[in-house]
């Protein structure tokens, strides 16, 4: 069993990662960090550059937690990718970040978090960025 973390390269991602490390210690299970970027945009702000993922890997190992960093490039839907990874990595818990959406954002975009919550095969831990 593993602890799966959905990681994005920003403050929210850091908070998610921190919660994932705690959870992984508590359960004494290895951590899997997943970063995904979409294939239908030229630039994806949620894509973590290689050096950022290396840093994540190093930092988490320094904390004494066994970690595997997975990057999905040319991905489609983030929620689907997370749910799928939770199954393949036998996740016992899935850690995701939550953020506020504006009224317009709610109108245009569907909530990834909601679809993860409904689709995940395991309990989901939702984390907010520290204000």
């Amino acid at each position: 069993m593993t602890v799966l973390v959905g990681y994005v390269p920003n403050a929210l991602g850091e908070a998610t990662l921190r919660a994932g490390v705690e959870e992984s210690r508590r359960r004494s299970e290895p951590l899997v960090v997943l970063n995904m970027s979409r294939d239908d945009v030229l630039v994806d702000a949620r894509r973590a550059p290689a050096d950022d993922l290396e840093r994540v890997d190093r930092d988490v190992r320094e904390l004494g937690v066994d970690v595997e960093v997975v990057q999905v490039e040319e991905g489609g839907d983030a929620a689907e990718a997370l749910v799928e990874a939770a199954t393949t990595h036998h996740a016992s818990v899935l850690v995701i970040g939550l953020r506020h959406r504006s009224a317009v954002g709610k109108l245009i975009l569907g909530s990834v978090a909601q679809r993860v919550l409904l689709g995940a095969p395991c309990p989901v831990l939702a984390v907010k960025a520290q204000s």
Binding site: S37, R38, D39, V41, E74
Partner: protein, 525 residues
């Protein structure tokens, strides 16, 4: 001095709140489409052409001029921050620009390209003021046989000089000429290539051809290659330059301008050749040769100045002769025609206010572009986050609406789809798009001049080769056509293979993704 007075008159006419707003809108849209790879000013002008039927002719031309200039600015932002040129004219900028950005000098690279574009654009637009009337004075003395020869030069130039393959260039040109031929013969009233359809009897509207080939063709092509890895933009603050950067930039700016303007002004010149020449010149003249290949500011400043100067140069044959030298100019010609204005040497005499207003608006647009681009370059890069499906759905919507708006005929929509399929096939098989659109627009003009020349001599073939201008043009055409043959003979005479002929050395470009650029080649600028 008449020119300057006329230009001042143009400024007076252009400075109204509405015109300034249109100019601002034009340069903003232009920068946006310049930033986005695959969407160029040519496609945008084609899409907006039917939408602007409601505007006065002056305002739609101000809008198109702004889009054209803006596209040249926007392309460099993506080149520098992403190593993916937004326009084919910015391919060379990526060589040094992206290296600079990776070395943490993105702010300086963006600054030198924006300020260089402004300097070059201003000088070259001023050059239009002085060169264009001279060209017009000369062109008015030319008759049909000379024009026939000049159009032939434009045909052969776009088909044979630009692009990698002559056969493909000529194939595209012939498709374009065939499309231009569809309709009713204007002398005999004969139906040509109409297949008995009353819808085709009235010629295919150039707008439908342009929108089909540029917009629908490109959208289908992108849809076929939708899946692609996302990239990460190099983060950057506000563009700025140190004193040393200024010192190293100003000479390349001026040299780039001097290279770009004439290349823009000759048929088949375009922006790609002068940017590359400027890059080579700067690499040769630099005091810091060790920096080239690692991010030399000269290698950004020169080519960026060259592509803006060539954009201004394009305006000279466009306004003085009615000859388009790149795709955007070709569609601006179509815009003139759709307003019932005949582009050609008489344009300046018949519509002086319009011409000078357009030139004045280019100065103003250029200033707006500096203001828009210098502080906002990082913001423009955010446009790259728009998912492609949204973008191309919007383009297809505008394309269909535009094609329908031309004649309010559902038939045009089927025609649009067929031409879109043709545009897709051309991209698939590497046929350049420019010769097609030039052929479609200039084909009927070519025919008219040929008929007129033959009529004046009563059908005698000698009517086609009157005057020294025609002789020079035909000599040029022959030289271009025979050059590969001659080159091969010389190569054989020397006993060498023709693999190492000088002049076809491709840009040294380890990092630039040429395979991605190649598909946009016909679309950009």
């Amino acid at each position: 001095m008449d020119n300057v007075n006329a230009l001042l008159g143009g400024f007076a006419a252009v400075i109204t709140p509405m015109n300034l707003l249109i100019a601002l809108l034009g340069v903003t849209v232009g920068t946006a489409v310049g930033v986005l790879p695959g969407i160029g000013p040519a496609m945008t002008v084609a899409l907006l052409l039917p939408v602007t039927y409601g505007l006065p002719v002056e305002q739609s031309l101000i809008l198109f001029g702004g889009i054209f200039y803006g596209g040249m600015y926007g392309g460099s932002t993506t080149s520098i921050l992403l190593n993916t040129p937004g326009e084919s004219a910015s391919v060379v900028t990526a060589l040094e620009g992206n290296k600079m950005a990776k070395a943490g000098r993105a702010a300086q690279a963006l600054a030198t390209s924006a300020i260089g574009s402004f300097v070059a654009g201003t000088i070259a637009t001023a050059a239009i003021v002085f060169v264009m009337p001279q060209v017009v004075d000369f062109a008015i003395t030319l008759g049909s046989p000379e024009f026939l020869a000049i159009i032939l030069v434009a045909f052969v130039g776009t088909a044979a000089i630009l692009g990698s393959s002559r056969v493909r260039g000529f194939a595209a040109l012939l498709v374009g000429l065939a499309l231009g031929l569809v309709g009713t013969d204007f002398v005999t009233g004969q139906q040509r290539l109409t297949f008995g359809s009353p819808f085709l009897a009235d010629n295919i509207d150039v707008v439908v051809v342009a929108v089909g080939i540029f917009a629908v063709g490109e959208a289908l092509w992108v849809a076929a290659h939708l899946r692609r890895k996302a990239a990460t933009v190099i983060p950057v603050g506000r563009p700025w330059m140190s004193k040393e950067d200024w010192g190293r930039s100003w000479k390349p700016w001026l040299r780039g301008t001097a290279l770009g303007f004439p290349f823009g002004a000759i048929p088949a010149g375009g922006a790609e050749i002068p940017t590359f020449l400027s890059y080579l010149t700067e690499r040769k003249l630099t005091k810091h040769p060790e920096e080239f290949g690692k991010g030399a500011i000269e290698g950004v400043a020169g080519p960026e100045a060259a592509n803006n100067a060539s954009a201004a140069g394009t305006m000279v044959p466009l306004l003085a002769l009615g000859l388009p030298t790149n795709a955007t100019a070709a569609i601006i010609i179509a815009a003139f025609m759709s307003y019932g204005i005949e582009p050609g040497p008489l344009l300046l005499t018949k519509e002086p206010d319009l011409v000078w207003m357009l030139v004045a608006s280019l100065f103003i647009g250029n200033f707006f572009l500096l203001v828009l681009n210098l502080p906002l370059a990082p913001t423009w890069a955010k446009l790259l986050r728009i998912p492609r499906p949204y973008l191309y759905a919007g383009i297809l919507f505008f394309a269909s609406m535009g094609a329908y708006a031309v004649n309010a005929q559902p038939f045009d929509l089927f025609l649009l789809l067929a031409l879109g399929g043709l545009g897709f096939a051309m991209r698939r098989f590497g046929l350049p798009v420019l010769p097609l659109i030039v052929g479609t627009i200039l084909g009927p003009l070519f025919e008219r001049h040929m008929r007129r020349s033959l009529q004046t001599t009563g059908g005698d073939i000698s009517g086609l080769v009157g005057g020294p201008v025609a002789w020079v043009c035909y000599a040029f055409v022959l030289a271009v056509l025979l050059w590969p043959l001659v080159a091969r003979l010389i190569g054989r005479g020397r006993g060498g293979s023709d693999d190492d002929t000088p002049g076809d050395d491709s840009p040294p470009s380890p990092g630039v993704e040429y395979d991605r650029v190649a598909t946009w080649e016909g679309v950009g600028s």
